[in-house]
């Protein structure tokens, strides 16, 4: 690994994003609008205060996952990945460069979304706002890492789009949002425990209830472990040679 090449790659990815202002706009504006719909619909009830923090974590994860899968697929299809692999850059530099660039984008997204939720929609959280932002950013980096790992499976645009329902939806369903984990059949409970998204949702729900860092540190550790694991998987599945 070479920090200089990682930074160069992150700067390049950010340069590409900057040249596409519409994507940046969608990334930032759409989550705010959706959260606004919920705030409007459940006006006068505590739903926004309960659900809001959870969505602050979910939106970055889903959008970053999609953006990363498409970006890496494009990199494969236009031949730039083949070219990169013919230069001295390490595979880890490519993967970390992407994680760094989209991680920075996620920080912006999480800050804007949290600010809008609190100051515009009047969301009230019992726990610390900064901890919510922290978990949201970690979730976004997790989304990027999963996108990088998942793009090894996808060979076409159709497959890349399918990754989202395949990898994200089951996690959403078993993550404890629809049903508390204690009420699930044992096998599904195990499945839920093995999925990375569960820990993001768990800590955000804990924070919404007024928990502090002591209550979520285990879950945060699990998210970080999943990020490292997914980045490693993404690095290992990147091929230098065409079959």
């Amino acid at each position: 690994m070479n920090p200089r090449l990682t930074a160069a790659t992150a700067a390049r990815v950010l340069g590409q994003v900057r040249n596409d202002p519409r994507t940046v706009g969608l990334l930032i504006v759409v989550p705010c609008v959706v959260l606004g719909l919920i705030a409007w619909m459940f006006d006068g009830t505590p739903v926004l205060n309960q659900m809001g923090p959870l969505l602050l974590g979910l939106f970055p994860l889903i959008t970053m996952f999609l953006v990363t899968s498409v970006a890496t697929l494009r990199e494969r299809q236009t031949g730039t990945l083949e070219r990169l692999m013919a230069t001295p850059i390490r595979k880890a530099d490519v993967v970390l460069g992407y994680a760094l660039a989209f991680g920075l984008l996620a920080v912006v997204q999480a800050l804007v979304l949290t600010g809008v939720a609190v100051w515009l929609y009047g969301m009230e959280v019992a726990g610390s706002l900064w901890l919510i932002v922290l978990v949201a950013v970690l979730d976004a980096i997790l989304g990027t890492a999963l996108g990088l790992a998942g793009s090894a499976i996808a060979r076409t645009e159709f497959q890349a789009v399918q990754l989202m329902p395949v990898l994200i939806f089951p996690q959403l369903i078993t993550g404890g949002l629809l049903m508390s984990r204690e009420l699930m059949p044992t096998v599904l409970e195990w499945f839920s425990r093995a999925m990375p998204l569960t820990y993001g949702m768990e800590s955000l729900q804990e924070l919404a209830r007024g928990g502090g860092f002591a209550e979520i540190q285990g879950a945060v550790g699990a998210i970080v472990a999943f990020i490292v694991g997914a980045l490693l998987l993404g690095t290992l599945t990147l091929r230098r040679r065409t079959p």
């Binding site: 200089r4 090449l5 160069a8 790659t9 700067a11 390049r12 340069g15 590409q16 040249n19 596409d20 236009t78 031949g79 730039t80 083949e82 070219r83 990169l84 692999m85 013919a86 230069t87 001295p88 850059i89 091929r239 230098r240 040679r241 065409t242 079959p243």
Partner: protein
């Protein structure tokens, strides 16, 4: 000695002397640029794949422009990818600049241009070049030189996405020139170019070779053959001929490269018929 970083001159026209800074760093000079023996490549996985190259033996001498000609599907791209180390399931001997193909040291010494222009469409030409320059450890002077070499200095700030096909493929070529590689592997670099640009690019290839670089250039346009020092004619994963054009013309009695190719294909078909009998 050629001064490096002489930036005080005005913008140059392609063809004057843009390659002045191109000094390939030479090592293992006595070995051929590429040496293959019993080369065999299977594509699509070693088990269920298709044999795309079967039993190729050849040597590419240093400092020459070698044309790799053949119809599409003859294995040119696969051979080039094997040379730059981007091809899986390569067996036999394949030595590049004295090292086995795909050796990490070669990533700085070999430049590769894929058939599809592989540059980022959402970045400007110069942003693309700066990124790859950082990866290769090249300097800003190299970026300026590469831009001049392919005659894109005037529109360097333009986004690749809005360029014409020819401009895009020249941007892709410029990336390969950044590190002043000893061996340049160019997969159909002149496709979609108008005759003037094609002539200018071949002149550039010639100048690079004069400075000591070796070029392996593929094409399916047979009339580009006369611009090469040596020709490798491929068909169905095999080498039909490997010699300078005049020698091939004499051997086959044909009047041009296309004639050479057709004569060789026919004589091969005749031989096969005789074997069947």
């Amino acid at each position: 000695m050629t001064p490096r970083g002489d930036r005080n001159r005005g913008p140059e026209v392609l063809g004057e002397n843009p390659a002045r800074d191109y000094i390939p760093h030479m090592r293992n000079n006595d070995r051929p640029a590429i040496r293959a023996e019993g080369l065999r490549v299977v594509r699509g996985g070693a088990r269920h794949g298709v044999v795309v190259i079967e039993g190729m033996d050849f040597e590419v001498p240093r400092g020459q422009v070698v044309g790799l000609l053949g119809p599409s599907g003859s294995g040119k791209t696969t051979l080039m990818r094997a040379v730059v180390g981007g091809q899986a399931d390569v067996t036999g001997t394949l030595e590049v600049l004295g090292q086995p193909a795909g050796h990490p040291d070669l990533r700085r010494r070999v430049g590769y241009v894929t058939q599809a222009p592989s540059v980022y469409a959402d970045l400007s030409i110069v942003a693309n070049l700066r990124y790859f320059a950082r990866l290769l450890g090249a300097e800003e002077v190299d970026v300026a030189r590469a831009l001049t070499d392919v005659d894109l200095a005037r529109i360097a700030g333009r986004r690749v996405g809005v360029l014409s096909g020819g401009e895009r493929s020249r941007a892709s070529l410029a990336v390969a020139l950044l590190g002043s590689p000893e061996l340049l592997v160019l997969d159909e670099p002149t496709v979609e170019l108008d005759p003037v640009l094609r002539r200018d690019l071949w002149a550039l290839f010639r100048r690079l070779a004069e400075r000591g670089a070796t070029l392996l250039v593929s094409s399916h346009v047979m009339d580009e053959a006369q611009r090469c020092d040596r020709l490798m004619l491929m068909r169905q994963g095999r080498l039909l001929a490997d010699a300078p054009l005049p020698e091939l013309l004499e051997r086959t009695g044909a009047s041009d490269a296309e004639g050479v190719f057709l004569t060789l294909v026919e004589s091969m078909a005749m031989e096969q018929k005789e074997v069947v009998r």
